[in-house]
Amino acid sequence: MGSGADLAWLLTAEFSTLNLPLPRLISVVVIGLSHRSAPVELRERFAFAEGKIPDALASLRSAGLTVETVILSTCNRVEIYAATDLAPDVAFAELRRFLLAHHAFDGVLGEELYTLAEPHSLHHLFKVASGLDSMVIGETEIFGQLKKAYDLAFTRQHTGAKLNRAFQRAFNVAKQIRTETNIQRGSVSVMSAAVELAEKIFNSLAEHEVLLIGAGETSEKTARALQSRGVSKITVTNRSPERAATLAKELGARTVPFEHWPEEFERIDIAVSSTAAPHHLIDRAKLETLMKRRRNRPLLLIDLAVPRDIDPAVNTLDNVYLYNVDDLQSIAQEYLKLRHEEVARCETIIAERVATLLEAGKYAAGHSRQ
């Protein structure tokens, strides 16, 4: 079985022999830069503001550079997916010129800008949709961003048979990879690992109250991650009551004076500590007394402070689960390692699906409906 490029070459040769006018052969190309090829300073220079994308799509079309176009612009990548009847080399040169002109870039650009023709362009699109080309491998946010970029182009009629099919297939592959592999499994950040941990201990997070000891950025991020999974009751305590009140207001939580936080242990089930205290705030003896008052209900302690706020010896108490920042980081890293181990399986699925797409003769010699 030949690739799409081979098939296109065969068709061209056939039409030349018969002295027939050549049909417009359309292929998918990609040009862009991403976190893999360019630093953030360069990526932000080439980023398309969301409101400007429709104009850019129209410009490309009216200039005759592309027949169908989708522009994907996120913090980690700026890419133009185009179906064009130009030869790939010509298309890349023109698209490069367009990008530089559109962003008024007069600097030097080398390897940072990558170009891909079929079948690599389709392979790349499938990888992007599946999160395999993302900074955090397997992340799902890119799927939504790609879908949004495609929807924008589709509703403004900048896509046709070629890109519609390619993108639909890409979304399909991403879903297949999500269900058949472990590429998106697990938490790869400290905050999400903390939330996942809480879900392994408690039945439903909505029924449990959280105490934030310390009102810094770390506490806020963890609280938001917990809220995203159903936690509704949060109590904030901080040495500075003003900061506690500010954070509580943002989170829709209540506050307690710092000297009274131990009294909260009768009600709460999760405590997140991230203060700048130079010594342990919670030690074994103190917690042992508190646990009796809790009638030995499970208690999850997340110590995100350095130096640590919670004496590691508390983990020896029954029904107490203590995790510090290193523990959570190692969970996140292990998950990331597992995701990397899954890449080969995902690549196999993608290769098969790209081949299927290209083998469909209609696709290789397809014409845009526009």
């Binding site: 472990n182 499994r185 697990g186 938490s187 690992a193 996942e196 941990l197 879900e199 392994k200 201990i201 408690f202 039945n203 009796k292 009638r295 030995n296 499970p298 983990n315 029954d318 029904n319 689960y321 995790y323 523990d327 190692s330 969970i331 292990e334 998950y335 597992l338």
Partner: protein, 272 residues
């Protein structure tokens, strides 16, 4: 198919339990990470054959098949297998069968010993009360067995969480809070059924000179009743730790399994 007796059906059931046990070892080694149904189907096949075996025996006897140690043991295992199939349909409980299968297989092998099922044994007493007595007590043991299985799952998961093992995160087992709740509920259900069974037994007609509460089997059952009552009360009202409670549930069930046959052997009431 006359040659194909209820014991053949039970032998097939135990074979499926054995296959399920083997597959459980594989699942265990893999850390219960993959969401799949193979073990559930193996266990289901076992329970179907098991049900068939009991139906055949019941239809031959025209009563609930709980007349000797073989029948009592198979009834107990059936209650355990059936309950684990039902519970496995709850979210994240699919692997319950992987913990139940080894119990079903090992006790099933024991039940297959010919001496446990002497031919020609006829029940002296029959009727609804006897069926209620036997069925509720054996179902209570099934509930205790499943409680012990949930307790094992709890202790395994708690250990992994305590010692920060990644396996705790990767596994598709329920939260430990849920496992504890299930263990507690099953122990309560078992205690309730055991109470009904003991009361029904007391109401049954007996030979003269055979008082109910001096029979070894009844004393043993009453002791079990007290043990489970203590475990539940201590956990619910005295704040006993979950770890101690679950350990207690496991030890009580192991004791039940190990002494079930012996007390049955020495029981005058159950051999009259």
């Amino acid at each position: 198919m006359i040659w194909f007796t209820d014991r053949h059906c039970f032998l097939l059931a135990v074979t499926f339990y054995g296959l399920s046990t083997l597959y459980s070892v594989f699942l265990w080694r893999k850390g219960f990470r993959r969401d799949e149904w193979v073990n559930y189907f193996l266990l289901s096949a076992g329970v179907v054959m098991h049900t068939l075996a009991m139906l055949k025996r019941g239809m031959t006897l025209h009563s609930c098949p709980v007349n000797n140690l073989y029948e009592a043991t198979t009834f107990l295992l059936w209650a355990l297998g059936m309950a684990s199939l039902v519970y496995a349909l709850l979210p994240r409980f699919k692997f319950l069968g992987a913990f139940t299968a080894p119990v079903l297989f090992t006790v099933g092998m024991f039940a297959l010993m010919p001496s446990l099922d002497p031919h020609g044994l006829k029940p002296e007493f029959s009727g609804a009360l006897r069926s209620i007595h036997a069925a509720t007590i054996l179902q209570a043991y099934g509930a205790f067995g499943l409680a012990a299985v949930a307790a094992v799952m709890f202790l395994m998961q708690q250990h992994d969480l305590k010692f920060h093992k990644l396996r705790a995160m990767l596994t598709l087992l329920p939260s430990i809070q849920r496992l504890e709740l299930i263990t507690l509920r099953l122990a309560c259900v078992g205690l309730g059924l055991l109470t009904v069974g003991l009361v029904a037994g007391e109401q049954m007609p007996r030979h003269e000179g055979k008082p109910y509460f001096t029979d070894p089997k009844v004393v043993w059952s009453a002791l079990l009743w007290l043990v489970y009552l203590e475990l539940i009360v201590a956990r619910l009202f005295l704040g006993r730790s979950t770890r101690r409670f679950t350990f207690g549930v496991i030890i009580a069930f192991v004791f039940l399994l190990l002494t079930f046959g012996i007390t049955n052997y020495y029981s005058g009431l159950h051999h009259s």
